[in-house]
Subunit: 454 residues, 4 copies
Amino acid sequence: MIKSRDKCGVFGIKSKSGVFDRIYYGLYALQHRGQESAGMAMCTDHIRVHKDMGLVTEVFNHIHLEGNIGIGHVRYSTTGGSKIENAQPLFIQYSGGNFAIAHNGNIINYAELRETLERRGSIFSTTSDTEMIAQLIAQEHTKLGDFVEGIKSAMNYLEGSYSLVILCDRKIIAVRDPHGFRPFVLGQSGEDYAVASESCALDCINMKLVRDIKPSEILVIGNCIESHFGPEKRTAHCMFEYVYFARPDSIINGKSVYEIRKNLGKTLAEEAPAKADRVIPVPDSGRTASIGYSRESKKTYGEGLMKNRYVGRTFIIPEQENREMEVKMKLNPIKSGIEGKSLVLVDDSLVRGTTMKQLIQIIKEANAKEVHVRISSPPIRYPCHYGIDMQTQTEFIASKKDIEGIRKEIGADSLAYISLEGLINAIGEPESELCLACLTGEYPIKRKEQTKLL
Amino acid sequence: MIKSRDKCGVFGIKSKSGVFDRIYYGLYALQHRGQESAGMAMCTDHIRVHKDMGLVTEVFNHIHLEGNIGIGHVRYSTTGGSKIENAQPLFIQYSGGNFAIAHNGNIINYAELRETLERRGSIFSTTSDTEMIAQLIAQEHTKLGDFVEGIKSAMNYLEGSYSLVILCDRKIIAVRDPHGFRPFVLGQSGEDYAVASESCALDCINMKLVRDIKPSEILVIGNCIESHFGPEKRTAHCMFEYVYFARPDSIINGKSVYEIRKNLGKTLAEEAPAKADRVIPVPDSGRTASIGYSRESKKTYGEGLMKNRYVGRTFIIPEQENREMEVKMKLNPIKSGIEGKSLVLVDDSLVRGTTMKQLIQIIKEANAKEVHVRISSPPIRYPCHYGIDMQTQTEFIASKKDIEGIRKEIGADSLAYISLEGLINAIGEPESELCLACLTGEYPIKRKEQTKLL
Amino acid sequence: MIKSRDKCGVFGIKSKSGVFDRIYYGLYALQHRGQESAGMAMCTDHIRVHKDMGLVTEVFNHIHLEGNIGIGHVRYSTTGGSKIENAQPLFIQYSGGNFAIAHNGNIINYAELRETLERRGSIFSTTSDTEMIAQLIAQEHTKLGDFVEGIKSAMNYLEGSYSLVILCDRKIIAVRDPHGFRPFVLGQSGEDYAVASESCALDCINMKLVRDIKPSEILVIGNCIESHFGPEKRTAHCMFEYVYFARPDSIINGKSVYEIRKNLGKTLAEEAPAKADRVIPVPDSGRTASIGYSRESKKTYGEGLMKNRYVGRTFIIPEQENREMEVKMKLNPIKSGIEGKSLVLVDDSLVRGTTMKQLIQIIKEANAKEVHVRISSPPIRYPCHYGIDMQTQTEFIASKKDIEGIRKEIGADSLAYISLEGLINAIGEPESELCLACLTGEYPIKRKEQTKLL
Amino acid sequence: MIKSRDKCGVFGIKSKSGVFDRIYYGLYALQHRGQESAGMAMCTDHIRVHKDMGLVTEVFNHIHLEGNIGIGHVRYSTTGGSKIENAQPLFIQYSGGNFAIAHNGNIINYAELRETLERRGSIFSTTSDTEMIAQLIAQEHTKLGDFVEGIKSAMNYLEGSYSLVILCDRKIIAVRDPHGFRPFVLGQSGEDYAVASESCALDCINMKLVRDIKPSEILVIGNCIESHFGPEKRTAHCMFEYVYFARPDSIINGKSVYEIRKNLGKTLAEEAPAKADRVIPVPDSGRTASIGYSRESKKTYGEGLMKNRYVGRTFIIPEQENREMEVKMKLNPIKSGIEGKSLVLVDDSLVRGTTMKQLIQIIKEANAKEVHVRISSPPIRYPCHYGIDMQTQTEFIASKKDIEGIRKEIGADSLAYISLEGLINAIGEPESELCLACLTGEYPIKRKEQTKLL
């Protein structure tokens, strides 16, 4: 159960008729990618932006925007640093015209690029990388005189992950970084086209998934669809989108997230069987993998933990008790499914291990005989630079302890992670096209090669 | 998937130390029983009440109440009729003293009793049955001079379902109606005692489930625990608490809700097997039964529908589109788990059939080969008078059509309900101790026998 | 500058057409009588109530109620004790029917009457005297079988000040206590009739002031206008309504408040001339009297203090500084009107004297040569029991010090109050028809004579 | 009664101790200059900004910022166009460092400068002139290497009115445009210094008014106070600050606003006497001038209209009635001061004349014998380009009708405006140092001379 940060969802659509409802539905389907803020930019004769802190249903309560073309964004909630200034889409105006932009990802050479842009004369009013991307594109556009060329040039400088939707000149432009870190798909219904972070956002508006936006692709949706390409780099799909972050009903990079998660569970069962009566998930993050584990191991699947759905954003543990209480509030054992039983408990990942430790304690207090923890991703040992916040390296329990040490720490009767090979096979993509940096420390982007912005 | 109304959750606790946190956690665990309003009454040297519209976490955001003894309440949200006046606990003062009261249930002779009380001189400022119960108890107390005798006398008049918690004279009094319609449990930790609608509210505060409050019991938690009893009637536990309403991690009437639901699925598999590749639930209402069905039928369990968790209270389908859109927003097919497959789709109940019809349509559009619907309760044909709102009789699809007619209407390839016998056996209680009125039309309370209030 | 409490404004209207707008405007005009909460009860085929904490414009933002007959209420803000439960109108139902009621005043035998009603069987859910009045009327109505007779009977028991509007049976009933403490007027436009606390509420809806509701009158506005009378007592118009509380543009008890205040200033100038260059008011409370003083004394009128209008309800002195800061925030000297001048500073009253002390300090710091304080009411030495909260007797500076002592305390160069005779003459009513209790200690209601409720 | 737009209030302070409270009080005193949004930027080791829509008391409810140096801003409310993006202070970062800036005024060559900056590569995310000023200063700073030189250079390009406070490098920099359109003052208390739009903001924090910031001055408040100057131009103090906008208790440009308003009234009495019994103001805008008129004419001063103070921001005339109702809601005649009398009615200005027309109608309905309107500014015929929004030229009643025509239109018995000479003399500044553009059409800034930004 990773807590991610800086993750977002993006959406864009061009139609013959009003698109407000479809952006609303699309963002709602992407809400799991960000609950902090939501926003839309819509174009009639000019571009209008509405954005605010809150869920899609809250931000657009009693709001309607006109227009047959528009983009939208949802942003993840972090404690403290969340501010209205960082809500997207961002709208900017410059000598070359104006555009609205929304971004999902993380630019790793943000500081250098920003410094360079500042040296060139850029002035910033936020600390978001989206403002930096926008200024870079605007500058390159101005320099080169063509918007797509400007984007292409900007892509030569930008290092990191980015799925961008841009609303400009009555066109939607979708840009995916050359590594293709974050998912990004194209949908169609008749003459209407949409782009979205995940395919689940297309389903709910009755659009057909056409294909992925390709790594490095600049897809221009105007009167026709044009495809341009920026620099070529090795593909590096984020394995964590498959393991945890994307919705199981989404198809990303041409693959069913649900099937991959089930395969992860199956592989885990093959690699790490357990003497147990029952397979139970940590809800909801471990559910699909636990179904796979159960099928492969022929062990009975059950639900052993009940998740409280009513947390809400004002949820505060009164009087600052310990984090243990927080786990207790969210997950309660279903005793009859636990008592006297040996359990396989499946989750997607272990970061600090503290939540799992408390969970096992709760399960043991409900008189489980044994708890065998199975994790559907290999140990996380290196921080993500491409958009998933997993705390600093020193916080990873797997950086500090070996597997036996972790097992003792969390109080499990046995502990196993899926192997790297198992993960790769379950995903079904060549290792060379995945980003496994958080597991291996081999980052797809070598910082030395980085192009200097002059 | 029933939408219930007038359902509530109640909680009460007496301790040696401050109880605010524990009432807060307890109500939070009961939040599924009511999201409209929340409230607490706490006693120090006098009784203070705080209540408002909203979730527990919203109503008690930045609020703290002192006291070692208190009660709490959550109330279900309905459209329109929800008002702050109806929030509970209710606090009243009269010649005999004062008390705070919270109620879960429905008094069926409310109108008659209210009229009689008005004739006797009572004056009402709300239309809630809780105000009527409070005035009746206060009057009987005044007449008889003893509070418990007053409650006993009131119980002779009250017809219907009620689980009451009363905060009075530094005591908690828990009262359960003679039929025991709604669940009500007693918990303990050292010298601290609590009562709650469901045992899940005890788990999260580290209290042990001692036993159920018995039908007709008046349990007084003061310096010691005293048990009194009102009129004796036949037990009539609501079968719908087992089938749908209570949380699966709760133990009510001495039975595990999770185990019963699993049994319902197993029985359904025995009674109504289906030629299918996969068993999938309508999430979350059909999940446990579908696990049981899968186990018994040896058919693979899977998740075929993804539920969006971010509905929130301001969720409004923009521009009032059809209800179909609402279903689409909440449930999306996981295509890889559906495509080309014959499915058993399990849910807890069918009321009007409209949601199921749309769901099947969505699933068929995702290219399922066949959809075999299995319902873990028998057809609902009669309205509930005891606290679960199931619309009027004319709205029940099972009142208007036979099973084949319903199957055609919803577009399923086959349809089966669990049998009445199957239901009773799966619950494991004698038929004579269950309320099955919504299925059979045989209501535990015959209106003619009703005691007249003079 | 008195801070009053328990003061309210009431309004009622019957028309051939919708009355929502007129109640809204009427309450808005009475907003100075209460800013804590606002509410309306409107009758179509049944009575509906909407009320909430806040100003009229806030409570009825986006709200519209249907109906040709209705009543309204505004309630004064106090710190802390303000609660939604106390908002009015109150709606009650009983064997005799139902009615909505709103009240301005204070019942001094509230505790005794409540106790008696509790002994008779009444049950209360608030501590407001309005609920007690409502229950008393309902009981007397039930006993006597006629609503007006019920009110008459209730009036025999009620001691204190009350201006009631009742919405009942498609009639508006206005009831003024036998002493006529609080103002209460009748307005007309064609066949439409309205009653209101002050005539300013009639002006804004283009209604003509017909006359006052008379002390002890029960005015029934149905298809025709009927007038009944309760017990006869000596008239006792509150002198403070003239001096401070009512709006200067109102005509109450047949007298122009503006003219009376001007007369008070004139009288004060005759009785207590001052060697000064300029007459300035404490804005806004002393303005009209200071104009009178200026005219009579032939001394130049000026504005020497600027009042900040933007206080708002969230106004909190940050970090709890002293009260001096509060005065500074609200009133700032206009230096050029003060510097080097001898001033007459006119205000309506002195209660604790602390605000005046700070004001004089501020004025002296702005280099005024002399400050001669003139107060347009005699010294307040006794608490008000009839609806104006002036703190307890021990807080009145005039209870503790003689005039010279007060002068020294507040730092004025001279201090004079209007004489009792001066006040009476300026008002122009016989002493026997005024309530002067807070000045003389002679309360119009002798508690011994009080009728016992059996 | 002008409705102004784009008017703002600015404040800045440097102290040895925490300044939050003093900025709060200062902004509160400037609240009349802007009620739309409020904000502060405070510096400890870095600059933090808090700003939001709402009054000062609302935006800083429960908020406290640390720091011994900071700036603040209030912004005027307009319907519709008000947005959080336009709230100030604005914080920007660039190669030269970072600063926070707040602005009161209007840049008339905004569009040209912005276009030029865009051509130079600037990118804008708002349409506010403050963002343009900030970028211009940042660019010039970067070019010239010195911040003050950067400001000086920017001043060569900026045409229009601006009073800027800048928080930068632990200094407060106050900049006033070379014409000195908007007021701007310096205050001191010991070693603490503050700058503010008006002196009333110094009074409430016990600071002494030292002097005005001079036209074209760049005042740097760091460890010492340094004064620099930008381009020299003719002084052009806005006459409307004296006539209407500033608070009467302020001293701006070395002159008492109260004294000037009184003089305007006196001059008006000399120039345009009237046969009348009474002089009354339109409250509050005409009050001071009416006092002056009364004194000079020896005619009795009175209050004939009562202003309702409780308008609030949610004030909406229900069901969109006519504007007449709006006037009625805000101003009610005090009949006894009007009836049968010939009145001089004094206000500060006439823009469209519609409000005055309705007011006269209300007064006549209250049976005034005659209404002689006297306006303490000459007819407004030309739009303001320097920060006061007076609608477009075609809306000015004085652009379309002569004085007799206006008199007829508003229904007055006589009408007179103060003469231009009278105005100038009453203000007491040479004509050459005033901006009288809205009266004469002679704008201090000739657009042709404008320096081009290369």
